[in-house]
Amino acid sequence: MHRRTFLTVTLLAAMSVPARAATRGGTLVYGRQTDCIYLDPVHTAQNADIWVSLNLYDTLTQPAHDGKSVVPGLAASWEVNQDGKTMTFKLRPNLKFADGSPLTADDVKWSLERAADKATGGEFQFLLASIGGVDAPDDGTVIIRLKRPDPAMLQALATFNAGIVPSKLIMAEPGATLDDKSKSFAQHPVGSGPFTLKSWNRNSEMVLTRNPHYWKSGADGQPLPYLDNVRYVIVPDDATRILKLKAGEIDAAEFIPYSRVAELKADPRLNMVLFPAAQVNYFTLNNRPTLKDGTKNPLNDVRVRQALNHATDKQALIQVVTYGIGTSEQSFMPASTPLSFGNGPLYTYDLNKAKALLAQSDWAKGFEITLYTIAGNADDVAKATALQQMWAPLGVRLKVQQMESATRLAHYNGADFQMLTSLWTNDINDPNEITSLFCYYPTIQNRHSGWDDPVIDKLFMDSQQELDPAKRAAQYKEIQERYFAAAPIIFGYEVPYPVAMAKKVKDFVQIPLGNNIFAGTYLAS
């Protein structure tokens, strides 16, 4: 059998290992906006859980910090056979869970089969849907059999829901069903990540303590992590979180409002960091010929959508909403997504072009659009008022209706809307998730827009099993170009994750998917 080696342990050298000596010990206090909800990797669906997950549950592969590739995790090396349907992983020797019990190929088999099964895999099962079965021929070898070749599988295995759990511990939990056992386990989870849960006082604080059995070593040759504990403190109010940081009660604070980034950058005691995020802000449009109430929908006309895109001054939006921190979208997918293709900002501001495009359409005299925003969201208010002014010269009147988020979601799922403010964050370092939802019609009618391009549908299906990276890149380039031309959305901008930290906090990373990575973090003395 011809074999191809994708990656070997030599890649370890490419991982970011700090050169300077790191201090060991101490507790990092991290101010969070929202608390975790549920700590079983397959039932993890909210950002608050996803962002913590990799600290508790290690994965076969790990996401590189820039989001572009994977590095070895629990698996030291792997091979993929020629038809791309069998992947063989060699586990590191002597792997252990945080409780000291051995982590074997059986645990990997159990975890991945549970995560890949529709009945038990939870909300993100679709990322692992190509897995047909997993074999564990010996304690150190895992063979994944795929239903079809899957170019995204190595990235999918680095995603939170592919976290490896101790099968024996879960099965020993009380409860009649697997679901009941999982519920009980999630109260006191055990994984093999750099940290393990020490205590959790819901909505107040969660303490992670170092896993003494973690396999990875630091720059000093001793096992990671450097920190003894990470204490997450829940402070929902932005202003209070910043006050706590300034008062020295916490060492880091996430979700700094854009309006305050400049102020915190100027504070000599703080390190204000903007971590690149796989996150885009845009406007969802209903592309259907008629709306739910039967009225004719101008957004069905591609020239109208292009005109509105040209009439949208993205730089002004970035200034008004993000205080200049954001960057223009270059594709519907975030720039950090592998195979994202961009040639500079899309639909640059050009009012004359917008007017010309609109004049060619049936809506030359202008029209009214209703935008649903989230009630109480200051960013949404800023976006809506900016668009009202930008589109007025075209004769387009933007009506704004504020809605509580779950109500708006019901409108969205029922395709009962004309335009929405929208935010997307990738969950996997691959273009397949965002593409399946944005431009592969069968998933959710392209974000319930009703817009469809059968050519893209076909390209996407092909790309899902294209193992040649160059060919897959070409497919994705075409998908993105076609999407750009059809303009089913109003393109917007990308924003980073703003985290402010005390100067002593070193080497904390928030990767583009949002995961907080504390494995190599330390507190300088």
Partner: protein
């Protein structure tokens, strides 16, 4: 025997209220657009995934069936399980309710401690400069939003002078008292202003009443006149007001708990409404309903003590 029958009647009234609230909150929650499955899956939920979760959560069953189950559970004091956190609602409430109760109790006490002496001072110096200052202060604290007062206190007394921690909760009862002082003060200020204005005008009214003049003419010491006759009579309306405002204290706690980062039931309620966590919203509403009813009962009893005419 007479007292017992009054008490029994009141308990029945409370039960009827709770049942009515149960029906109301169930209907309202299910009338709201959106449901827990949609909220959990967010904007990427496929029709298939939503349907599967509906089934798992039992939301695909007829509403009357779900309602009957809900009533059956209440009858056995089982409030069900949170669909997002997947833990019993009683546990969620038990973890947070003490914080909110302590916060509102401290706020009520602080409000009384400030309102009563200031109202006395203002009433005795009616029209004087002390009265003007006190009335100005109450006007100011009434017109400032709760979150704004909270932030100002945090910036000045906590982050600035470091007298208090910047929000959060302690690890013991004594620590909790310290951590909850600023949020309780925040909550207390507007209530204190309402009580103060009311008590001041009642005091002035009573001070001018004939029986006070008579008591003074009888040669009673001023302290006795003020304490036994004036305050006692003026307190009736203040106590009623305080009781009526307990409900709004809990409402104010929602904002205070968010600004100060306190894990209480106010925040739990708001989060649960947004995530359409039916069981939590329903359970919490009922618990709060019982608590407020009990406070009303206590207020009635207290009024009866102050004014013998009421109990007859």
């Amino acid at each position: 025997m007479h007292l017992l029958s009054i008490l029994g009647r009141r308990v029945l009234q409370i039960l009827a209220t709770v049942l009515l609230v149960a029906v109301l909150v169930f209907t309202l929650m299910h009338m709201l657009p959106g449901d827990p499955a949609e909220a959990i899956l967010g904007d990427r939920g496929t029709t298939e995934a939503i349907a599967r979760l509906h089934h798992e959560l039992g939301l695909d069953r007829p509403i009357p069936v779900q309602f009957w189950e809900f009533l059956e559970r209440i009858a056995t004091l089982d409030l069900g399980e949170s669909v997002t956190m997947r833990i019993p609602v009683t546990q969620l409430i038990a973890d947070r309710l003490p914080n909110t109760l302590l916060l509102t109790a401290m706020a009520a006490i602080l409000a009384l401690l400030t309102a009563v002496p200031l109202a006395f001072l203002a009433a005795l110096r009616e029209g004087g400069w002390a009265d003007a200052i006190i009335r100005g202060f109450s006007q100011l604290s009434l017109s400032m939003p709760v979150f704004y007062i909270g932030l100002i206190l945090l910036i000045t007394l906590a982050a600035g002078l470091r007298w208090f921690p910047v929000g959060g909760i302690g690890n013991s009862f004594m620590q909790d008292l310290y951590y909850l002082f600023l949020p309780a003060l925040t909550l207390a200020l507007s209530l204190s202003a309402i009580l103060l204005r009311n008590l001041r005008s009642s005091l002035i009214e009573v001070l001018h009443a004939e029986f006070v003049g008579f008591a003074t003419a009888k040669g009673l010491r001023r302290r006795v006149v003020l304490g036994r006759h004036v305050l006692r009579n003026a307190s009736i309306s203040a106590v009623t007001l305080l009781g009526l405002h307990v409900g709004s204290l809990v409402g104010g706690a929602v904002i205070t708990e968010t600004v100060f980062g306190i894990p209480g039931v106010g925040r739990l309620m708001v989060d649960s409404i947004f995530s359409r966590d039916y069981a939590v919203v329903q359970g919490l509403t009922m618990v709060l309903c019982v608590l407020v009813s009990v406070v009303f009962l206590a207020v009635d009893a207290f009024q009866a003590l102050l004014d013998p005419r009421i109990s007859t």
